[in-house]
Amino acid sequence: MTAVSEPPAPVSAEEAAGMLARNGLTGPAFDPEEVARTLAGWWEADARLDMLLEAPSPDDPVGFDPQWR
């Protein structure tokens, strides 16, 4: 299986506020701008994982070990 590479998805503060509200994370402890910045970093990490997973891997979870076949 080859992972489909997605571009990093920067999240605006407005979008972060919506995500927080949908997940019940409300109140002054959650600053949407700060959360948006944090999520940007996590999306970068997500893109890095794509770099590892894009390479054909012997770890295909739906494939079979050739020696088994």
């Binding site: 992972a3 972060a16 995500m19 927080l20 997940n23 019940g24 994370l25 109140g27 002054p28 402890a29 959650f30 700060e34 959360v35 944090t38 999520l39 996590w42 990490a45 997500d46 890095r48 994982l49 794509d50 770099m51 590892l52 997973l53 891997s57 012997p58 770890d59 979870p61």
Partner: protein
């Protein structure tokens, strides 16, 4: 000098010979904690009454000749491990003072072995961090002891107890072991049960000992794992042992003093007859994104109610991790799990194809950071203290392999440096044998830090 236990072996010998009773040792240990721990803050709770009761029971066992290696030996337990009758606070103001109703299996096994649990050691909040405030490092009290099992590392380094339990999700046993100059073992995933232990990330959490020596780690593992013989082969040496010497990311960059100490340690192992093999596993470069892709969602799932209802009680940095873990799509977590398998298989491939017995690296790329320090600088590049410490230890949380940290020198400021040795799953014996051989050939282990029980009069 205060009467405390320098090592499990030494304490067991004195207790069995009748030169010291468990009650005397417990009293001396409690006294030393009273006098020294105001400076270290390595214990968050001292169970004076429980320790005395356990010590009396241990004395009875010793008299009856029913003693094991840990009978009567004072130990500490990280404050994320449940103990009946005591609260588990996890370094968090959100956790109640309500006593827990039962022992976690690991704590129960210590009690069954006759160990005297002195109290609960300081954990970084929710076991999610590398500094463990308010605990400090006995080598320099203006520096962190590491984390998240920082109290356990500081307590052992200061000679208060010869062993304390820690947990390790991304390095939390090995980080404080390296920074405090003691020995720490993260066993194979699942070997020591984590039931009754507050999870950070259930698929990465491990439980194990921080101790005064490799032998003490082995003795402790025999109890914590509920069996197994990890001490029998300790003196077997490393002759013809093939050791993969890890280089490249995430093991670079590192501080020059760490690199020098590590190279010297490899030379020592070579001198003992081992065969070092230089090794770069490219997949390990993705350790940090894989680790956090798993820790974030699992920790967020665990703490979802706390995050929703009382977020103000969570440290802001940890709250950011939990919030991101809650908001990132499921695909991110799944990629983390997939990457974990790629990384695990890459390590297995290299160890199998190159016929390696163990892998060696510096435990950490730098010695203990200052309490307020946020970043290291390697070759002009800034790196967060947390990420720098986790990148060299987390590969073996992802793979689940056993990994040991043993002292391998000091930097120019006199701060300890650790050597990390990792082995095949459930092959703790080989890892411990390599660690014991190195320890015996070097003289780093057992040096007392400036804050140590040996400095106490009478």
């Amino acid at each position: 000098m205060a009467v405390t236990a320098r090592s499990i072996r030494e304490a067991a010998g004195r207790l069995r010979s009748g030169g010291l009773t468990a009650s005397e040792l417990a009293s001396a240990t409690l006294d030393a904690v009273d006098r020294l721990d105001g400076r270290l803050r390595s214990f968050v709770l001292v169970d004076r009454e429980g320790a005395q009761v356990s010590a009396e029971a241990a004395d009875a066992r010793l008299e009856e000749g029913r003693a094991g290696p840990l009978t009567g030996v004072p130990v500490g337990v990280k404050d994320i491990v449940d103990m009946a009758g005591l609260p588990t606070r996890c370094g968090s103001p959100a956790y109640p003072d309500r006593p827990r109703s039962s022992d976690a299996p690991a704590a129960a096994r210590l009690r069954e072995a006759g160990a005297v649990i002195v109290g609960k050691t300081t954990s970084h909040e929710l076991a999610c961090g590398v500094s463990s405030p308010p605990a400090v490092n006995p080598w320099d009290t203006s520096r962190i002891p590491g984390g998240s099992s920082g109290g356990s590392g500081a307590a052992v380094a200061a000679g208060l107890v010869p062993m304390a339990i820690g947990s390790d999700t991304g390095g939390s046993i090995r980080i404080p072991a390296a920074l405090c100059g003691v020995t720490g073992l993260k066993p194979t995933y699942g070997l020591v049960p984590t039931d009754g232990v507050e999870p950070l990330s259930w698929s990465l959490d491990h439980l194990g000992p921080l101790a005064a020596s490799v032998e003490d780690c082995a003795l402790s593992l025999e109890v914590l794992a509920g069996g197994g013989d990890y001490t029998a082969g300790l003196e077997g040496g490393v002759r013809k042992m093939r050791i993969g010497v890890l280089a490249g990311p995430p093991f670079s960059p590192m501080a020059p003093d760490v690199e020098a100490a590590f190279r010297e340690a490899v030379q020592t192992l070579r001198g003992l007859g081992a065969a070092p093999v230089e090794l770069d596993i490219p997949e390990l470069e993705y350790t940090l994104p894989a680790e956090f892709a798993i820790v974030g969602p699992e920790a967020a799932a665990r703490h979802r109610l706390l995050l929703r209802r009382r977020p103000e009680l969570i440290d802001p940095d940890i709250r950011q991790v939990l919030t991101a873990g809650a908001l990132m799509p499921t695909s991110h977590y799944l990629k983390g799990l997939q990457a974990r398998r790629v990384i695990r298989d890459a390590i297995r491939r290299e160890m199998t194809e190159r016929r390696l017995d163990v892998l060696a690296s510096p435990t950490l790329p730098a010695a203990a950071a200052r309490l307020e320090q946020q970043e290291f600088e390697f070759g002009g590049q800034a790196e967060s203290v947390t990420l720098a410490y986790v990148r060299t230890t987390a590969p073996f949380n992802l793979s689940g392999q056993p990994a040991l940290s043993v002292p391998c020198g000091f930097d120019r400021r006199g701060l300890p440096i650790g050597l990390q040795l990792a082995g095949r799953p459930f092959d703790e014996s080989t890892v411990l044998r390599a660690g014991a051989a190195y320890e015996a050939a070097s003289d780093w282990q057992g040096r007392p830090p400036p804050v140590h029980v040996s400095t106490l009069a009478g």
